[in-house]
Amino acid sequence: MNILELHSLKKYFSDQKAVEDISFNIEKGSIFGLLGPNGAGKTTLIRMITGIFYPDSGEILFNGKKFHPMNDIINIGYMPEERGLYKKMKIGEHAIYLARLKGMSRTDAMTSIKKWFIKLEMESWWNKKVEDLSKGMSQKLQFVTTVLHNPQLIILDEPFSGLDPVNANLIKEEIYTLAKNGATIIFSTHRMEQVEEICDQIVLINQGQKILDGTVREIKQNFKENIFSIEGNIIPENLMTHIFEVVSFDKGKLLVKLSKDTNNNELLNFFINQNVSIQSFNEVLPSLNEIFIRLVGETTPTRKFEMIN
């Protein structure tokens, strides 16, 4: 079951095609990575999903029905990348205010906030003012205010920026728990190592268009270049063969690129025949970071402005 389906979404601004014909589905309960370089159209896309912008054309289905911002917005929690809070407000009051804007009653908001504050060790903050918080602390508060109304869909734009490793881990664990309990998480970032670790499915967009869609495994398989790494007592002089090309050889670790029409068994045989005792042998899959750079780097790094009429 898909919680969200986007069908040919388009949004043009006066001088930019911010989102051009993007479609994808997000499965319920998954952690979804929305990737793209700066200015790719991620924020515009998210703003359409959160009902802030209306698409020029295309359709959004939420839980299988046409997305209706007024009604569906309470099922969405959105933490924008550029985040802010009212500096002069007390933390408890601030959380209650944002919860009530999501349609919660004061008492419900109170219970939920207390629960989250205890979970994230923030109980003592209640009467502090927002301006007294450090960047990481206000980040945590922001996370709490995003999830405290139990949204079905949680959109987090760069949720770990500004967090120390301990707190980042704390939040990461909470994200897993939320997903386990049935919430769907859209995770927008350009930190690839986090995506590889957390996300089930990713979509990469660039210049307003989708250029990649799939699970992390699938994508890595699709972009593999038949590179293998072999460790053992290899003698560099004996590496002349048509089976592979040497990519690098460093401290007994050999990287090779397999030639076409050969398979790994031939590669292994080659070394076994040379009486090399192999300590490790494995295929090297490209990291998402490499795939990202390969795909995005081919295009102009920054978007050009153009007149649209």
């Binding site: 006066s14 933490m79 550029e82 802010g84």
Partner: protein
């Protein structure tokens, strides 16, 4: 509770709970009342000290007797002295000044007042009128006319203006009407500028600290804008109501703090006849005004004018970026019609039925201020109705287009929007 209400109450309570709100709301009328009390105190008690004046009447104008109405002046006639001989002595003998009237009718400076420092203008005017009166009486007598008969013949006329309405005639008090008109117009002007710019600052703060995006993922931008405008407007009304209550309370409390005041006013009827008539005139004058009409119009034009301008200010606040100078550049074009309204209002209180005043009180961007300037005068029904309708219409129109500018503006970071862009946001679909 709907979302505008939640936003409204946050905007309202965070402002009302601030110490600065308490300070200006209670402090300002207190300061005004203290000044007011000091001024009254000075006017009543300041002149009580008697001035002793020595008179050397060589021309014998006074016949040795001064018919003195001015309590604070006490005259003593000198004998066996000359001007030169007494100049050195009058201070030691306890006189504040020394009036010399020369017998030489051809002298250019026939009347001279000697004093150690310059004498106050009212005292000089008093002495002059005493001398004039004395000379006139003397002249009348010399020509065989009885001064008392002459007094009866000449009349000092005071014109009373009566306004005739269907409900009957009543006395008009031009001065009071003028003051009330001007005061109401000025108040609306102040409220629009102060609270309008507050809306603008608050909007641009929300934009620059990026809370706006969090909020608009929960509520519509229009709800955020309206909640803010209404909340700040409610703060303005609250402040205003507290001021009125405080003024009324303190006005009635004056006799408690200054019990002698009323006593003094009552006990010096001659000296303060003018003051008292001013007081009763004020009371009667205020009573003669159509108070209910003024109050209702004030509320309507305050709310209508505030709402219209607040939405414009909100849109202006939404398009500026972090740079505060940009905000200044945008404030000016918004303030211009308000200032224009104020200028027309100052003309309208003097000439309420001039073309300019009529135009200003109907044109919706100036009408809240200018109409208040005309409010104590009779305004034709059609003008009033047209003005009200146009103001409501312009409020709806401006909230509609500024809402669209606001919606786009608060989410635009980086550069400032150009006029052309704002125009496009306002008038394109979406």
């Amino acid at each position: 509770m709907n979302k505008i209400g939640i936003i409204l109450s946050r905007e309202y309570f965070t402002r009302v709970k601030k110490k600065s709100f308490l300070l200006t709301t209670i402090g300002v009328p207190l300061v005004i009342m203290v000044f007011y009390a000091i001024i009254i105190y000075i006017t009543v008690s300041g002149n009580n000290e008697k001035q002793k004046i020595a008179v050397l009447d060589e021309a014998n104008i006074f016949n040795g007797k001064i018919d003195n109405k001015e309590q604070e002046l006490e005259f003593s006639f000198l004998k066996n002295e000359t001007e030169q001989s007494f100049i050195s002595k009058y201070k030691q003998e306890g006189f504040q000044s020394f009036l010399y009237i020369s017998s030489d009718s051809s002298a250019s400076k026939k009347y001279r007042l000697h004093s150690p420092s310059s004498t106050s203008l009212p005292t000089i005017a008093n002495i002059e009128s005493i001398i004039n009166d004395a000379i006139r009486v003397k002249q009348l007598r010399a020509n065989g006319i009885d001064p008392e008969a002459f007094e009866r013949l000449t009349k000092d006329v005071s014109l009373e203006n009566t306004i005739d309405t269907e409900k009957g005639s009543k006395k008009s008090f031009a001065g009071i009407a003028y003051a009330v008109s001007f005061g109401c117009g000025f108040l609306i002007y102040m409220m629009m500028v102060i609270y309008g710019t507050q809306v603008m600052r608050s909007v641009s703060e929300e934009k620059t600290n990026r809370i706006a995006e969090v909020i608009v993922s929960s509520v519509k931008p229009f709800q955020l804008m309206m909640g803010k405008i209404l909340g700040i407007g409610a703060v303005g009304l609250t402040q205003f109501i507290i001021w009125i209550i405080l003024l009324v309370v303190m006005q009635s409390a004056i006799p408690i703090f200054f019990p002698d005041l009323i006593h003094q006013i009552n006990n010096v009827p001659q000296a303060n006849a003018e003051n008292i008539s001013l007081l009763t005139n004020t009371v009667q004058g205020i009573a003669s005004l159509p108070l209910l009409k003024i109050l209702l119009s004030f509320l309507f034009y305050f709310i209508g004018g505030y709402l219209t301008y607040a939405s414009i200010f909100a849109a202006a606040g939404s398009v500026v970026s972090e740079d505060q100078q940009e905000a200044q550049q945008l404030v000016f074009p918004v303030l211009m019609p308000i200032i224009l309204g104020f200028v027309i209002m100052t003309k309208a209180v003097n000439d309420p039925n001039s073309d300019l005043a009529v135009f200003g009180s109907i044109f919706p961007l100036t009408s809240p201020i200018v109409m208040m300037g005309r409010i104590t005068y009779e305004i034709p029904l059609w003008q009033m109705a047209l003005s009200i309708l146009l103001l409501i219409g312009s409020f709806l129109f401006f909230t509609w287009i500024t809402g669209k500018i606001y919606r786009t503006g608060i989410l635009m970071y980086g550069k400032k929007a150009s006029w052309k862009e704002m125009f496009r946001w306002a008038f394109t679909k979406g």
